[in-house]
């Protein structure tokens, strides 16, 4: 490649910068979310959702279930032939469970991806900044404190878990803020580790002095699951999760800019600290809401974004929207596994995602080694 030949046009004159139009200057192609990716993601989600609705211990005939679902569409008149119980199973049990699983999976995946972009760290997700330990402490406080408080409404646990998660992240943020922009990401992560350790220590202390029944209640909440999913819970989380996802999707291009580091991002006009703050707040609120109804389901925020990164490239303009679609489908499928492997017994959902997550890391490691 010659040194100067490319720098000038043939007549030795340099053309002005932005005055090139038409066929002489082929257009540049920036990375965008392609229709193909979206179709693939939507197809995956749809397939997972459909299979999830069709399978269950009630043993309802597949055709009848499909007819029942389709009959709700406008202008479609179908008689499904399902008994009243079957209708209830489909609309009051399987549907909300599938929808809740999708919402939680999408939220965890996009929150993980956003944190990875905001912190330029491949292992970042909201659990890292204290959501997990804060929610666990909130749950432990409610369960252990119940005999002391007396009669408490049974839906105090989700509220306490949510409050605990938010408080933990607020503490992380208060402790980890740093003046020097190049240290702010690292110091936040360190503060998150410290806060998580502290909250977990308090939780362990509480549980160690509790009765065996309380211990197992909190433990099983930590394992995560969707067994009591109903439309009430969907309504509960939808505003938080929906808002969070909208905000995070809006930030997708900004996250691409963040990958060149705080200083250079600032020099091209993007305030890295502000973007990080917005991402933390949105992702935390959404994750806290999801965790409050589903317990601590781990690995989704790491598995899904990394898989998309391997297949579709590093741009967050693809990773964030695809995380929503594939995250939802992934958790719906994991829940399907959780309730069919030992049917009619159920396995806690967090155990299934952990089983899937561990070998996943090995696959990623091998991939990374091979690519050098």
């Amino acid at each position: 490649m010659t040194l100067t030949a490319d720098a000038r046009t043939s007549d030795g004159q340099a053309p002005p910068l932005d005055d090139i139009d038409g066929p002489s200057a082929p257009a540049l192609h920036a990375t965008r979310l392609t229709a193909g990716h979206v179709v693939l993601g939507a197809g995956f989600l749809l397939a997972a959702a459909i299979v999830s609705i069709l399978v269950g211990p009630a043993g309802l005939p597949v055709g009848a279930v499909l007819a029942e679902v389709l009959s709700r569409l406008p202008l479609v008149h179908l008689h499904s032939g399902l008994s009243a119980t079957g209708v209830v199973v489909v609309w009051q049990l399987r549907m909300p469970r599938m929808v809740l699983g999708g919402l939680v999976g999408a939220m965890l995946a996009i929150a993980g991806a956003s944190y990875q972009g905001a912190f330029s760290n491949p292992l970042a997700d909201p659990y890292l900044l204290g959501v997990a330990s804060g929610a666990g402490l909130g749950a432990a406080l409610v369960v252990v404190g119940a005999p002391v408080i007396g009669q408490i409404p049974s839906d105090l646990l989700p509220v306490a878990a949510f409050a605990g998660a938010v408080l933990a992240v607020a503490a992380t943020f208060a402790l980890g803020r740093s003046r020097a922009s190049e240290r702010s990401a690292a110091s936040l992560l360190l503060a998150g580790v410290a806060v998580a350790a502290f909250f977990t220590a308090v939780q362990t202390f509480l549980l160690q002095r509790s009765s065996p029944g309380q211990l197992s209640t909190v433990y099983s909440w930590i394992l995560g699951g969707l067994s009591t999913a109903g439309w009430g819970q969907v309504e509960l989380v939808l505003p938080y999760v929906g808002t969070a996802m909208v905000v995070l999707l809006a930030c997708r291009r900004l996250l691409d800019v963040m990958s060149v580091g705080d200083e250079e991002a600032t020099s091209v006009g993007v305030r890295a600290e502000r973007v990080r703050l917005v991402v933390i707040v949105a992702a935390t609120l959404g994750t806290a809401a999801a965790v409050s109804v589903s317990g601590l389901i781990g690995f989704v925020g790491i598995i899904v974004p990394h898989t998309i990164r391997l297949l579709a490239g590093p741009s967050y303009r693809r990773i964030l929207p695809l995380s929503v679609l594939f995250g939802a489908g992934f958790l719906i499928l994991a829940d399907l596994l959780a309730r069919t492997i030992l049917s009619p017994a159920e396995i806690p959902l967090g155990v299934v995602t952990a089983f899937l997550g561990a070998p996943f890391f090995l696959v990623v490691l091998r991939q990374a080694r091979r690519l050098g």
């Binding site: 009630a58 209830v88 049990l93 909300p96 049974s154 211990l215 197992s216 009591t228």
Partner: protein, 317 residues
């Protein structure tokens, strides 16, 4: 979404305990009646003590009649008092609710340091699930310790009664206690009569559908009546599996017993309000009953007698 004290860790502990009891009873030299034989020998020799009793993973020798018993298991407390050894008890655990006038302490039975018990100067300690190295520590302090984990069958209850009777010096009372228990059971089964035959039940341990199969003690109590547990197909890996609402709707149990009334404030009304449950036969026929959580975790004579009477009353009011 609240979860109750399911004692899920007890499920695996139960399995381990059952296995160890089976193994030790298979490997110990003497068969079950040995304690009574040894005690009878001592009695014939003019004294019930010292007596060697089977305990947990081995045998324990109690040198003299204990008068400062520390009983840290609710079911064992019931047995000790039923045998008439109440005056010998100086302390029971905080969860022992019967009898009401038993000297309750702040101990849970899961303590890990034997020093905690020393101020009471016990001469016999009864535990269900000792913590850490408690048993070894008590042995070093030369305090006899009896380990009696959860029973899963009525035979287990009988053998625990015999061991406690020998250990406390009330061998003569065993027969009466067992007879009384059998009478109550027989009366209850008679009362229920044909109403129980073939009826299915669901026993709820926590609102997220953790339940007990018929391989548990509470399952054994239901089996006395010939009732069928809907959760049995889910019990391949654990005797306390988690099932789903959908499965309950499908199997449509005839009777529902809620053992999460204390921990998780569940009632027949709250049960009926769960999505889709209003269509359940048990709900429509008002066959949903709330019981105290402790019935799912205790196996003492008082619990047994009360619970079988309750079942009979539910089946044929």
């Amino acid at each position: 979404m609240k979860r109750s004290w399911v004692r899920r860790f007890l499920a695996s502990a139960l399995t381990a305990a059952v296995v160890s009891v089976l193994l030790s009873s298979a490997t110990s030299a003497a068969p079950a009646p040995a304690p009574q034989v040894a005690a009878a020998r001592n009695a014939a020799a003019g004294s019930a003590f010292p007596v060697t009793v089977h305990s947990g993973d081995g045998n324990v020798t109690i040198p003299a009649r204990p008068v400062r018993i520390l009983c840290l298991s609710p079911s064992s407390t019931q047995m000790v008092y039923a045998l008439g050894a109440g005056p010998q008890v100086v302390g029971v655990d905080e969860y022992s609710s019967w009898p009401a006038d038993a000297p309750r302490t702040k101990f849970s039975g899961a303590e890990t340091s034997a020093e905690d018990y020393l101020p009471l100067r016990p001469d016999l300690v009864i535990l269900a699930y000792p913590g850490g190295t408690m048993v070894q520590q008590l042995r070093k302090l030369e305090i006899p310790v009896l380990v009696l984990p959860a029973a899963t069958t009525f035979a287990d209850v009988d053998s625990q009664l015999a061991e406690l009777a020998a250990a406390t010096g009330h061998l003569a009372a065993v027969g009466a206690v067992e007879a009384s228990m059998n009478q109550d059971i027989a009366a209850a089964v008679r009362k229920a009569g044909s109403a129980a035959r073939g009826e299915s039940y669901y026993i709820e341990i926590s609102p997220d559908y953790y339940t007990a199969t018929s391989k548990t003690f509470i399952g054994a109590e239901f089996s006395l009546f010939g009732m069928r547990d809907i959760a049995d197909p889910a019990g391949r890996l654990s005797a306390y599996p988690q099932i789903s609402a959908e499965f309950i709707l499908k199997t449509n149990p005839d009777y529902v017993f809620l053992a999460d009334t204390v921990c998780c404030q569940q009632t027949p009304t709250s049960f009926a309000h769960r999505p889709g449950f209003s269509a359940l036969a048990a709900v429509r026929l008002h066959h949903v009953l709330g019981v105290n959580d402790s019935v799912a975790s205790q196996w003492g004579p008082h619990t047994i007698e009360a619970f079988v009477a309750l079942i009979a009353q539910t089946l044929r009011p």
